[in-house]
């Protein structure tokens, strides 16, 4: 397997799917001539031409709506948001049209599109450009929400998202774009949407995490927990936040009886809150301790780098939270 970056893995997925299906096209701000604000669409314009790699004006609600219309008539649009902070402008199209058309047309129409881009803090980008907005989309029936944590998952899940018959919100992380890992070279490497991955196997406590928190906070904590603290940790990455693979999480909690949830978002009405609630409700008799949940501090993201680090869960926080649920 080749060791490539998260960015290259996404680029490969786009290349492969556009080669495979000529109905697939990419549209967004700066995706063509500039090769994408984060270079995810590098080389696509040269290969596929400007009919399939389209630079859009700065009009999120409009070009997302344009994508929905194209999906209506059988195309497979991939709409790139420069960041999900700008996707806020397109929420009307996403929530009222993309999410609702299959239901309201009684199944006559479907919206097979992908809306993708970076989500979460990018490092000193200040409050308006550092938002983690996954809960906005997870909240809406009719949408699927995917949030990969590794290059391999990014590639396999983006390919699945492009092939999916429904609108998929595909959330990346600016901080992960340069992260390298092994990625299968199989041209048909497609991962199932709605299936969690056991990132690490253990027996004493289950950590549920997704997106950037796996490599940023959880993975660095494992060595300390298993080495210095002697606590065996199991890590479940749902990968898809909607539909959620609760089964895999519950099976792990039934084994470990203790759970820590780590998310890169704000605590109130978050995706993590929902997962914890489901585990409390369906795994009640298997819990030996209250769940610990690590989220952002409940403040707008500060611009200062040191303060930003304080707001985002760290490996140190994970170690303390795991010890706390183990009553250590």
């Amino acid at each position: 397997m080749a060791v490539i970056t998260f960015r290259e893995a996404l680029n490969q997925a786009l290349f492969e799917e556009m080669e495979r299906d000529d109905q697939v096209f990419l549209m967004g701000e700066e995706v063509g001539q500039y090769h994408g604000a984060y270079k995810v669409s590098q080389g696509l314009l040269d290969r596929f031409g400007e009919k399939r790699v389209i630079d859009a004006p700065i009009t999120e609600n409009s070009f997302v709506g344009l994508g929905i219309g194209a999906a209506h008539v059988g195309m497979r649009p991939i709409i790139e948001l420069m960041t999900f902070n700008f996707g806020i402008l397109a929420l009307d199209q996403i929530i009222n049209n993309a999410a609702k058309l299959r239901y309201m047309s009684g199944g006559q129409f479907s919206v097979p599109m992908v809306i993708r881009g970076p989500n979460g803090a990018g490092g000193a980008l200040a409050a308006q450009h550092s938002q983690a907005l996954e809960s906005q989309y997870v909240h809406i029936p009719g949408l699927k929400v995917v949030m990969p944590s590794t290059p391999g998952d990014a590639k396999g899940l983006l390919k699945a998202a492009i092939r999916d018959p429904d609108p998929v919100i595909f959330m990346e992380s600016e901080k992960l774009y340069n992260y390298k890992e092994e990625v299968p070279e199989d041209a048909d490497y497609v991962l199932p949407i709605g299936k969690a991955d056991i990132k690490h196997t253990g027996s004493d406590v289950t950590i549920v995490t997704y997106g950037r928190m796996w490599t940023h906070a959880v993975k660095p904590a494992i060595e300390r927990l298993e080495g210095e603290e002697g606590i065996s940790v199991e890590v479940i990455d749902p990968r898809t936040l909607r539909p959620l693979d609760l089964q895999t999480i519950l099976e792990s909690v039934k084994k470990t009886n203790r759970m820590v949830l780590v998310e890169e978002s704000w605590p109130q009405a978050s995706v993590g809150a929902w997962i914890c609630e489901q585990v409390y409700a369906q795994g009640f008799d298997y819990l030996d301790a209250p769940i610990e949940r690590l989220s952002h501090l409940d403040v707008p993201m500060p611009y200062a780098k040191n303060l930003e680090e304080e707001v985002i869960p760290s490996a140190e926080n994970v170690v303390e939270a795991v010890k706390a649920v183990c009553y250590r």
């Binding site: 009886n257 949830l261 704000w266 605590p267 109130q268 009405a269 978050s270 993590g272 809150a273 929902w274 914890c276 609630e277 409390y280 009640f284 008799d285 298997y286 819990l287 030996d288 301790a289 209250p290 769940i291 610990e292 949940r293 690590l294 989220s295 952002h296 501090l297 409940d298 304080e310 869960p313 926080n317 303390e320 939270a321 010890k323 706390a324 009553y327």
Partner: protein
């Protein structure tokens, strides 16, 4: 941020304590190191100190209640803090304005979630949980009356038919967790068996009534230690009769010389035990599974009866002290014992215990060893008995001493030689000077 004050383990064998008396009240400012409550532990009443500076927001353990070690007895913090997450009920009194309590309720979740180290007893953290933990239902009994247990622990207990109440919890605030129930099940304890109905009809009106007497922590510790001794220490007893004229003469001489001296036969026996122990290594030895600990000292435990119990304060380096000093020290420790002010240190480290029931006219008895000591002397009354001297029956002062021994440490012949030596010393008190 509000913090719980938890019960400190004040001795190695302490697993729970009874909160005897609060020395401060809710709303008082308290400081780190200040004594805030009296707690009855193993055998003594000791003072519990605060670990923090702040205001005592809530007393969790009421006077007279039992608390497991590490269980929360109080919550300290700043006035107005929300203490519901710590097992208190909601916001503390001085938070009046809604805008004051609202952010306070919203804030602890992410703050605590981010920095779990600052919250040693995290409870119901997730900010997004639908039901706020404290005012869930009006009928929910307050923390302290309800047995706290994890859902998993409850399920295991139910499946195993084990009663949760009475299982000491090792989680925060004494919460019973899986391993506590599993341990209880492994020990076969706490079966939830319905007590048999009593069909006995009273035939006459009795002036007496059945009652259930609550046991003090001391009473329970005594019971546990006696049971442990009888179950794990292979006891045997040897008795010997000791002529008492020498002791009585010695006491009389001391009083002639010093009319104010409060010296009795008991003090001379203690002195003799210290002196004789110097020469008998086995008496100073203690069983420790794969080896013996031989103690290089002559500290003697003395059983002191107090109301509702029995304590064994230790007199140190008995061989090196005069009888007057020993008498004074015994009065001091007996006073502390009655006031329940003995510390666990005051009651540990003895080589051998003296138990004296002579004052009640008992003429012979066997006592239970006080572990980890290897022997105990049960001293009975000094009586007028007919004794045979040179083939003739004459009146004599005699007391019977029965020595209980741990056979793992002391063999019969060794104990017999010791008793011979002790008898010779008691019958001729000058020997104590040797």
């Amino acid at each position: 941020m509000a913090k719980p004050i938890t019960l400190v383990q004040l001795s190695p064998t302490m697993s729970e304590g009874t909160l005897v008396k609060w020395l401060v009240k809710e709303g008082d400012r308290i400081s780190n190191g200040q004594a805030i409550a009296e707690v009855e532990t193993d055998k003594a009443v000791m003072e519990q100190e605060s670990f923090f500076d702040g205001t005592l927001l809530k007393i969790v353990a009421k006077e007279g209640s039992k608390v497991a070690v590490e269980g929360t007895i109080a919550i300290v913090g700043e006035p107005g803090e929300d203490i519901s997450a710590l097992g208190g009920n909601g916001t503390t009194p001085s938070a009046t304005a809604a805008e004051k309590s609202a952010p306070a309720k919203a804030q602890p979740a992410p703050a605590a979630a981010q920095k779990p180290a600052s919250a040693p007893a995290p409870v119901a953290k997730p900010a997004g949980s639908r039901v706020p933990p404290a005012p869930a239902k009006a009928t929910t009994p307050p923390v302290g009356e309800r047995t706290l247990a994890s859902p998993l622990a409850r399920k295991i207990a139910k499946d195993a038919g084990v009663e949760l109440r009475g299982i000491a919890g090792s989680g925060p605030q004494g919460r019973v967790v899986r391993k506590d129930v599993e341990n209880a099940v492994a020990n076969g304890g706490n079966k939830a068996v319905a007590s048999p109905a009593r069909n006995v009809q009273p035939v006459a009106v009795s002036p007496l009534a059945d009652e259930e007497v609550k046991l003090s922590g001391m009473r329970q510790v005594i019971a546990r230690r006696l049971l442990e001794s009888k179950q794990t220490v292979p006891h045997f007893q040897l008795s010997i009769d000791v002529r008492g004229e020498g002791l009585l003469t010695a006491v009389a001489r001391i009083k002639e010389a010093m009319p104010d001296a409060k010296v009795t036969v008991t003090h001379l026996i203690i002195k003799a035990m210290g002196a004789v122990a110097l020469r008998h290594k086995a008496i100073r030895s203690q069983w420790a599974d794969d080896h013996l600990n031989v103690l290089g000292r002559t500290d003697i435990s003395v059983a002191v009866a107090i109301e509702d119990g029995l304590l064994t304060p230790v007199l140190r380096d008995v061989h090196a002290k005069g009888v007057l000093q020993l008498a004074q020290e015994l009065r001091d420790v007996a006073g502390k014992a009655r006031a329940r002010k003995l510390t666990p240190e005051d009651m540990s480290g003895g080589i051998q215990t003296l138990s004296n029931l002579g004052m009640y006219g008992i003429n012979q008895f066997a006592a239970i060893i006080n572990p980890p000591e290897s022997s105990i002397l049960a001293v009975a009354a000094m009586e007028d008995r007919p004794v045979v001297e040179d083939g003739r029956i004459v009146p004599g002062k005699v007391m019977t001493i029965t020595m209980g021994c741990d056979h793992r440490v002391i063999d019969g012949a060794v104990a017999a030689q010791y008793l011979q030596d002790l008898k010779a010393t008691l019958e001729n008190p000058v020997m104590m000077l040797l």
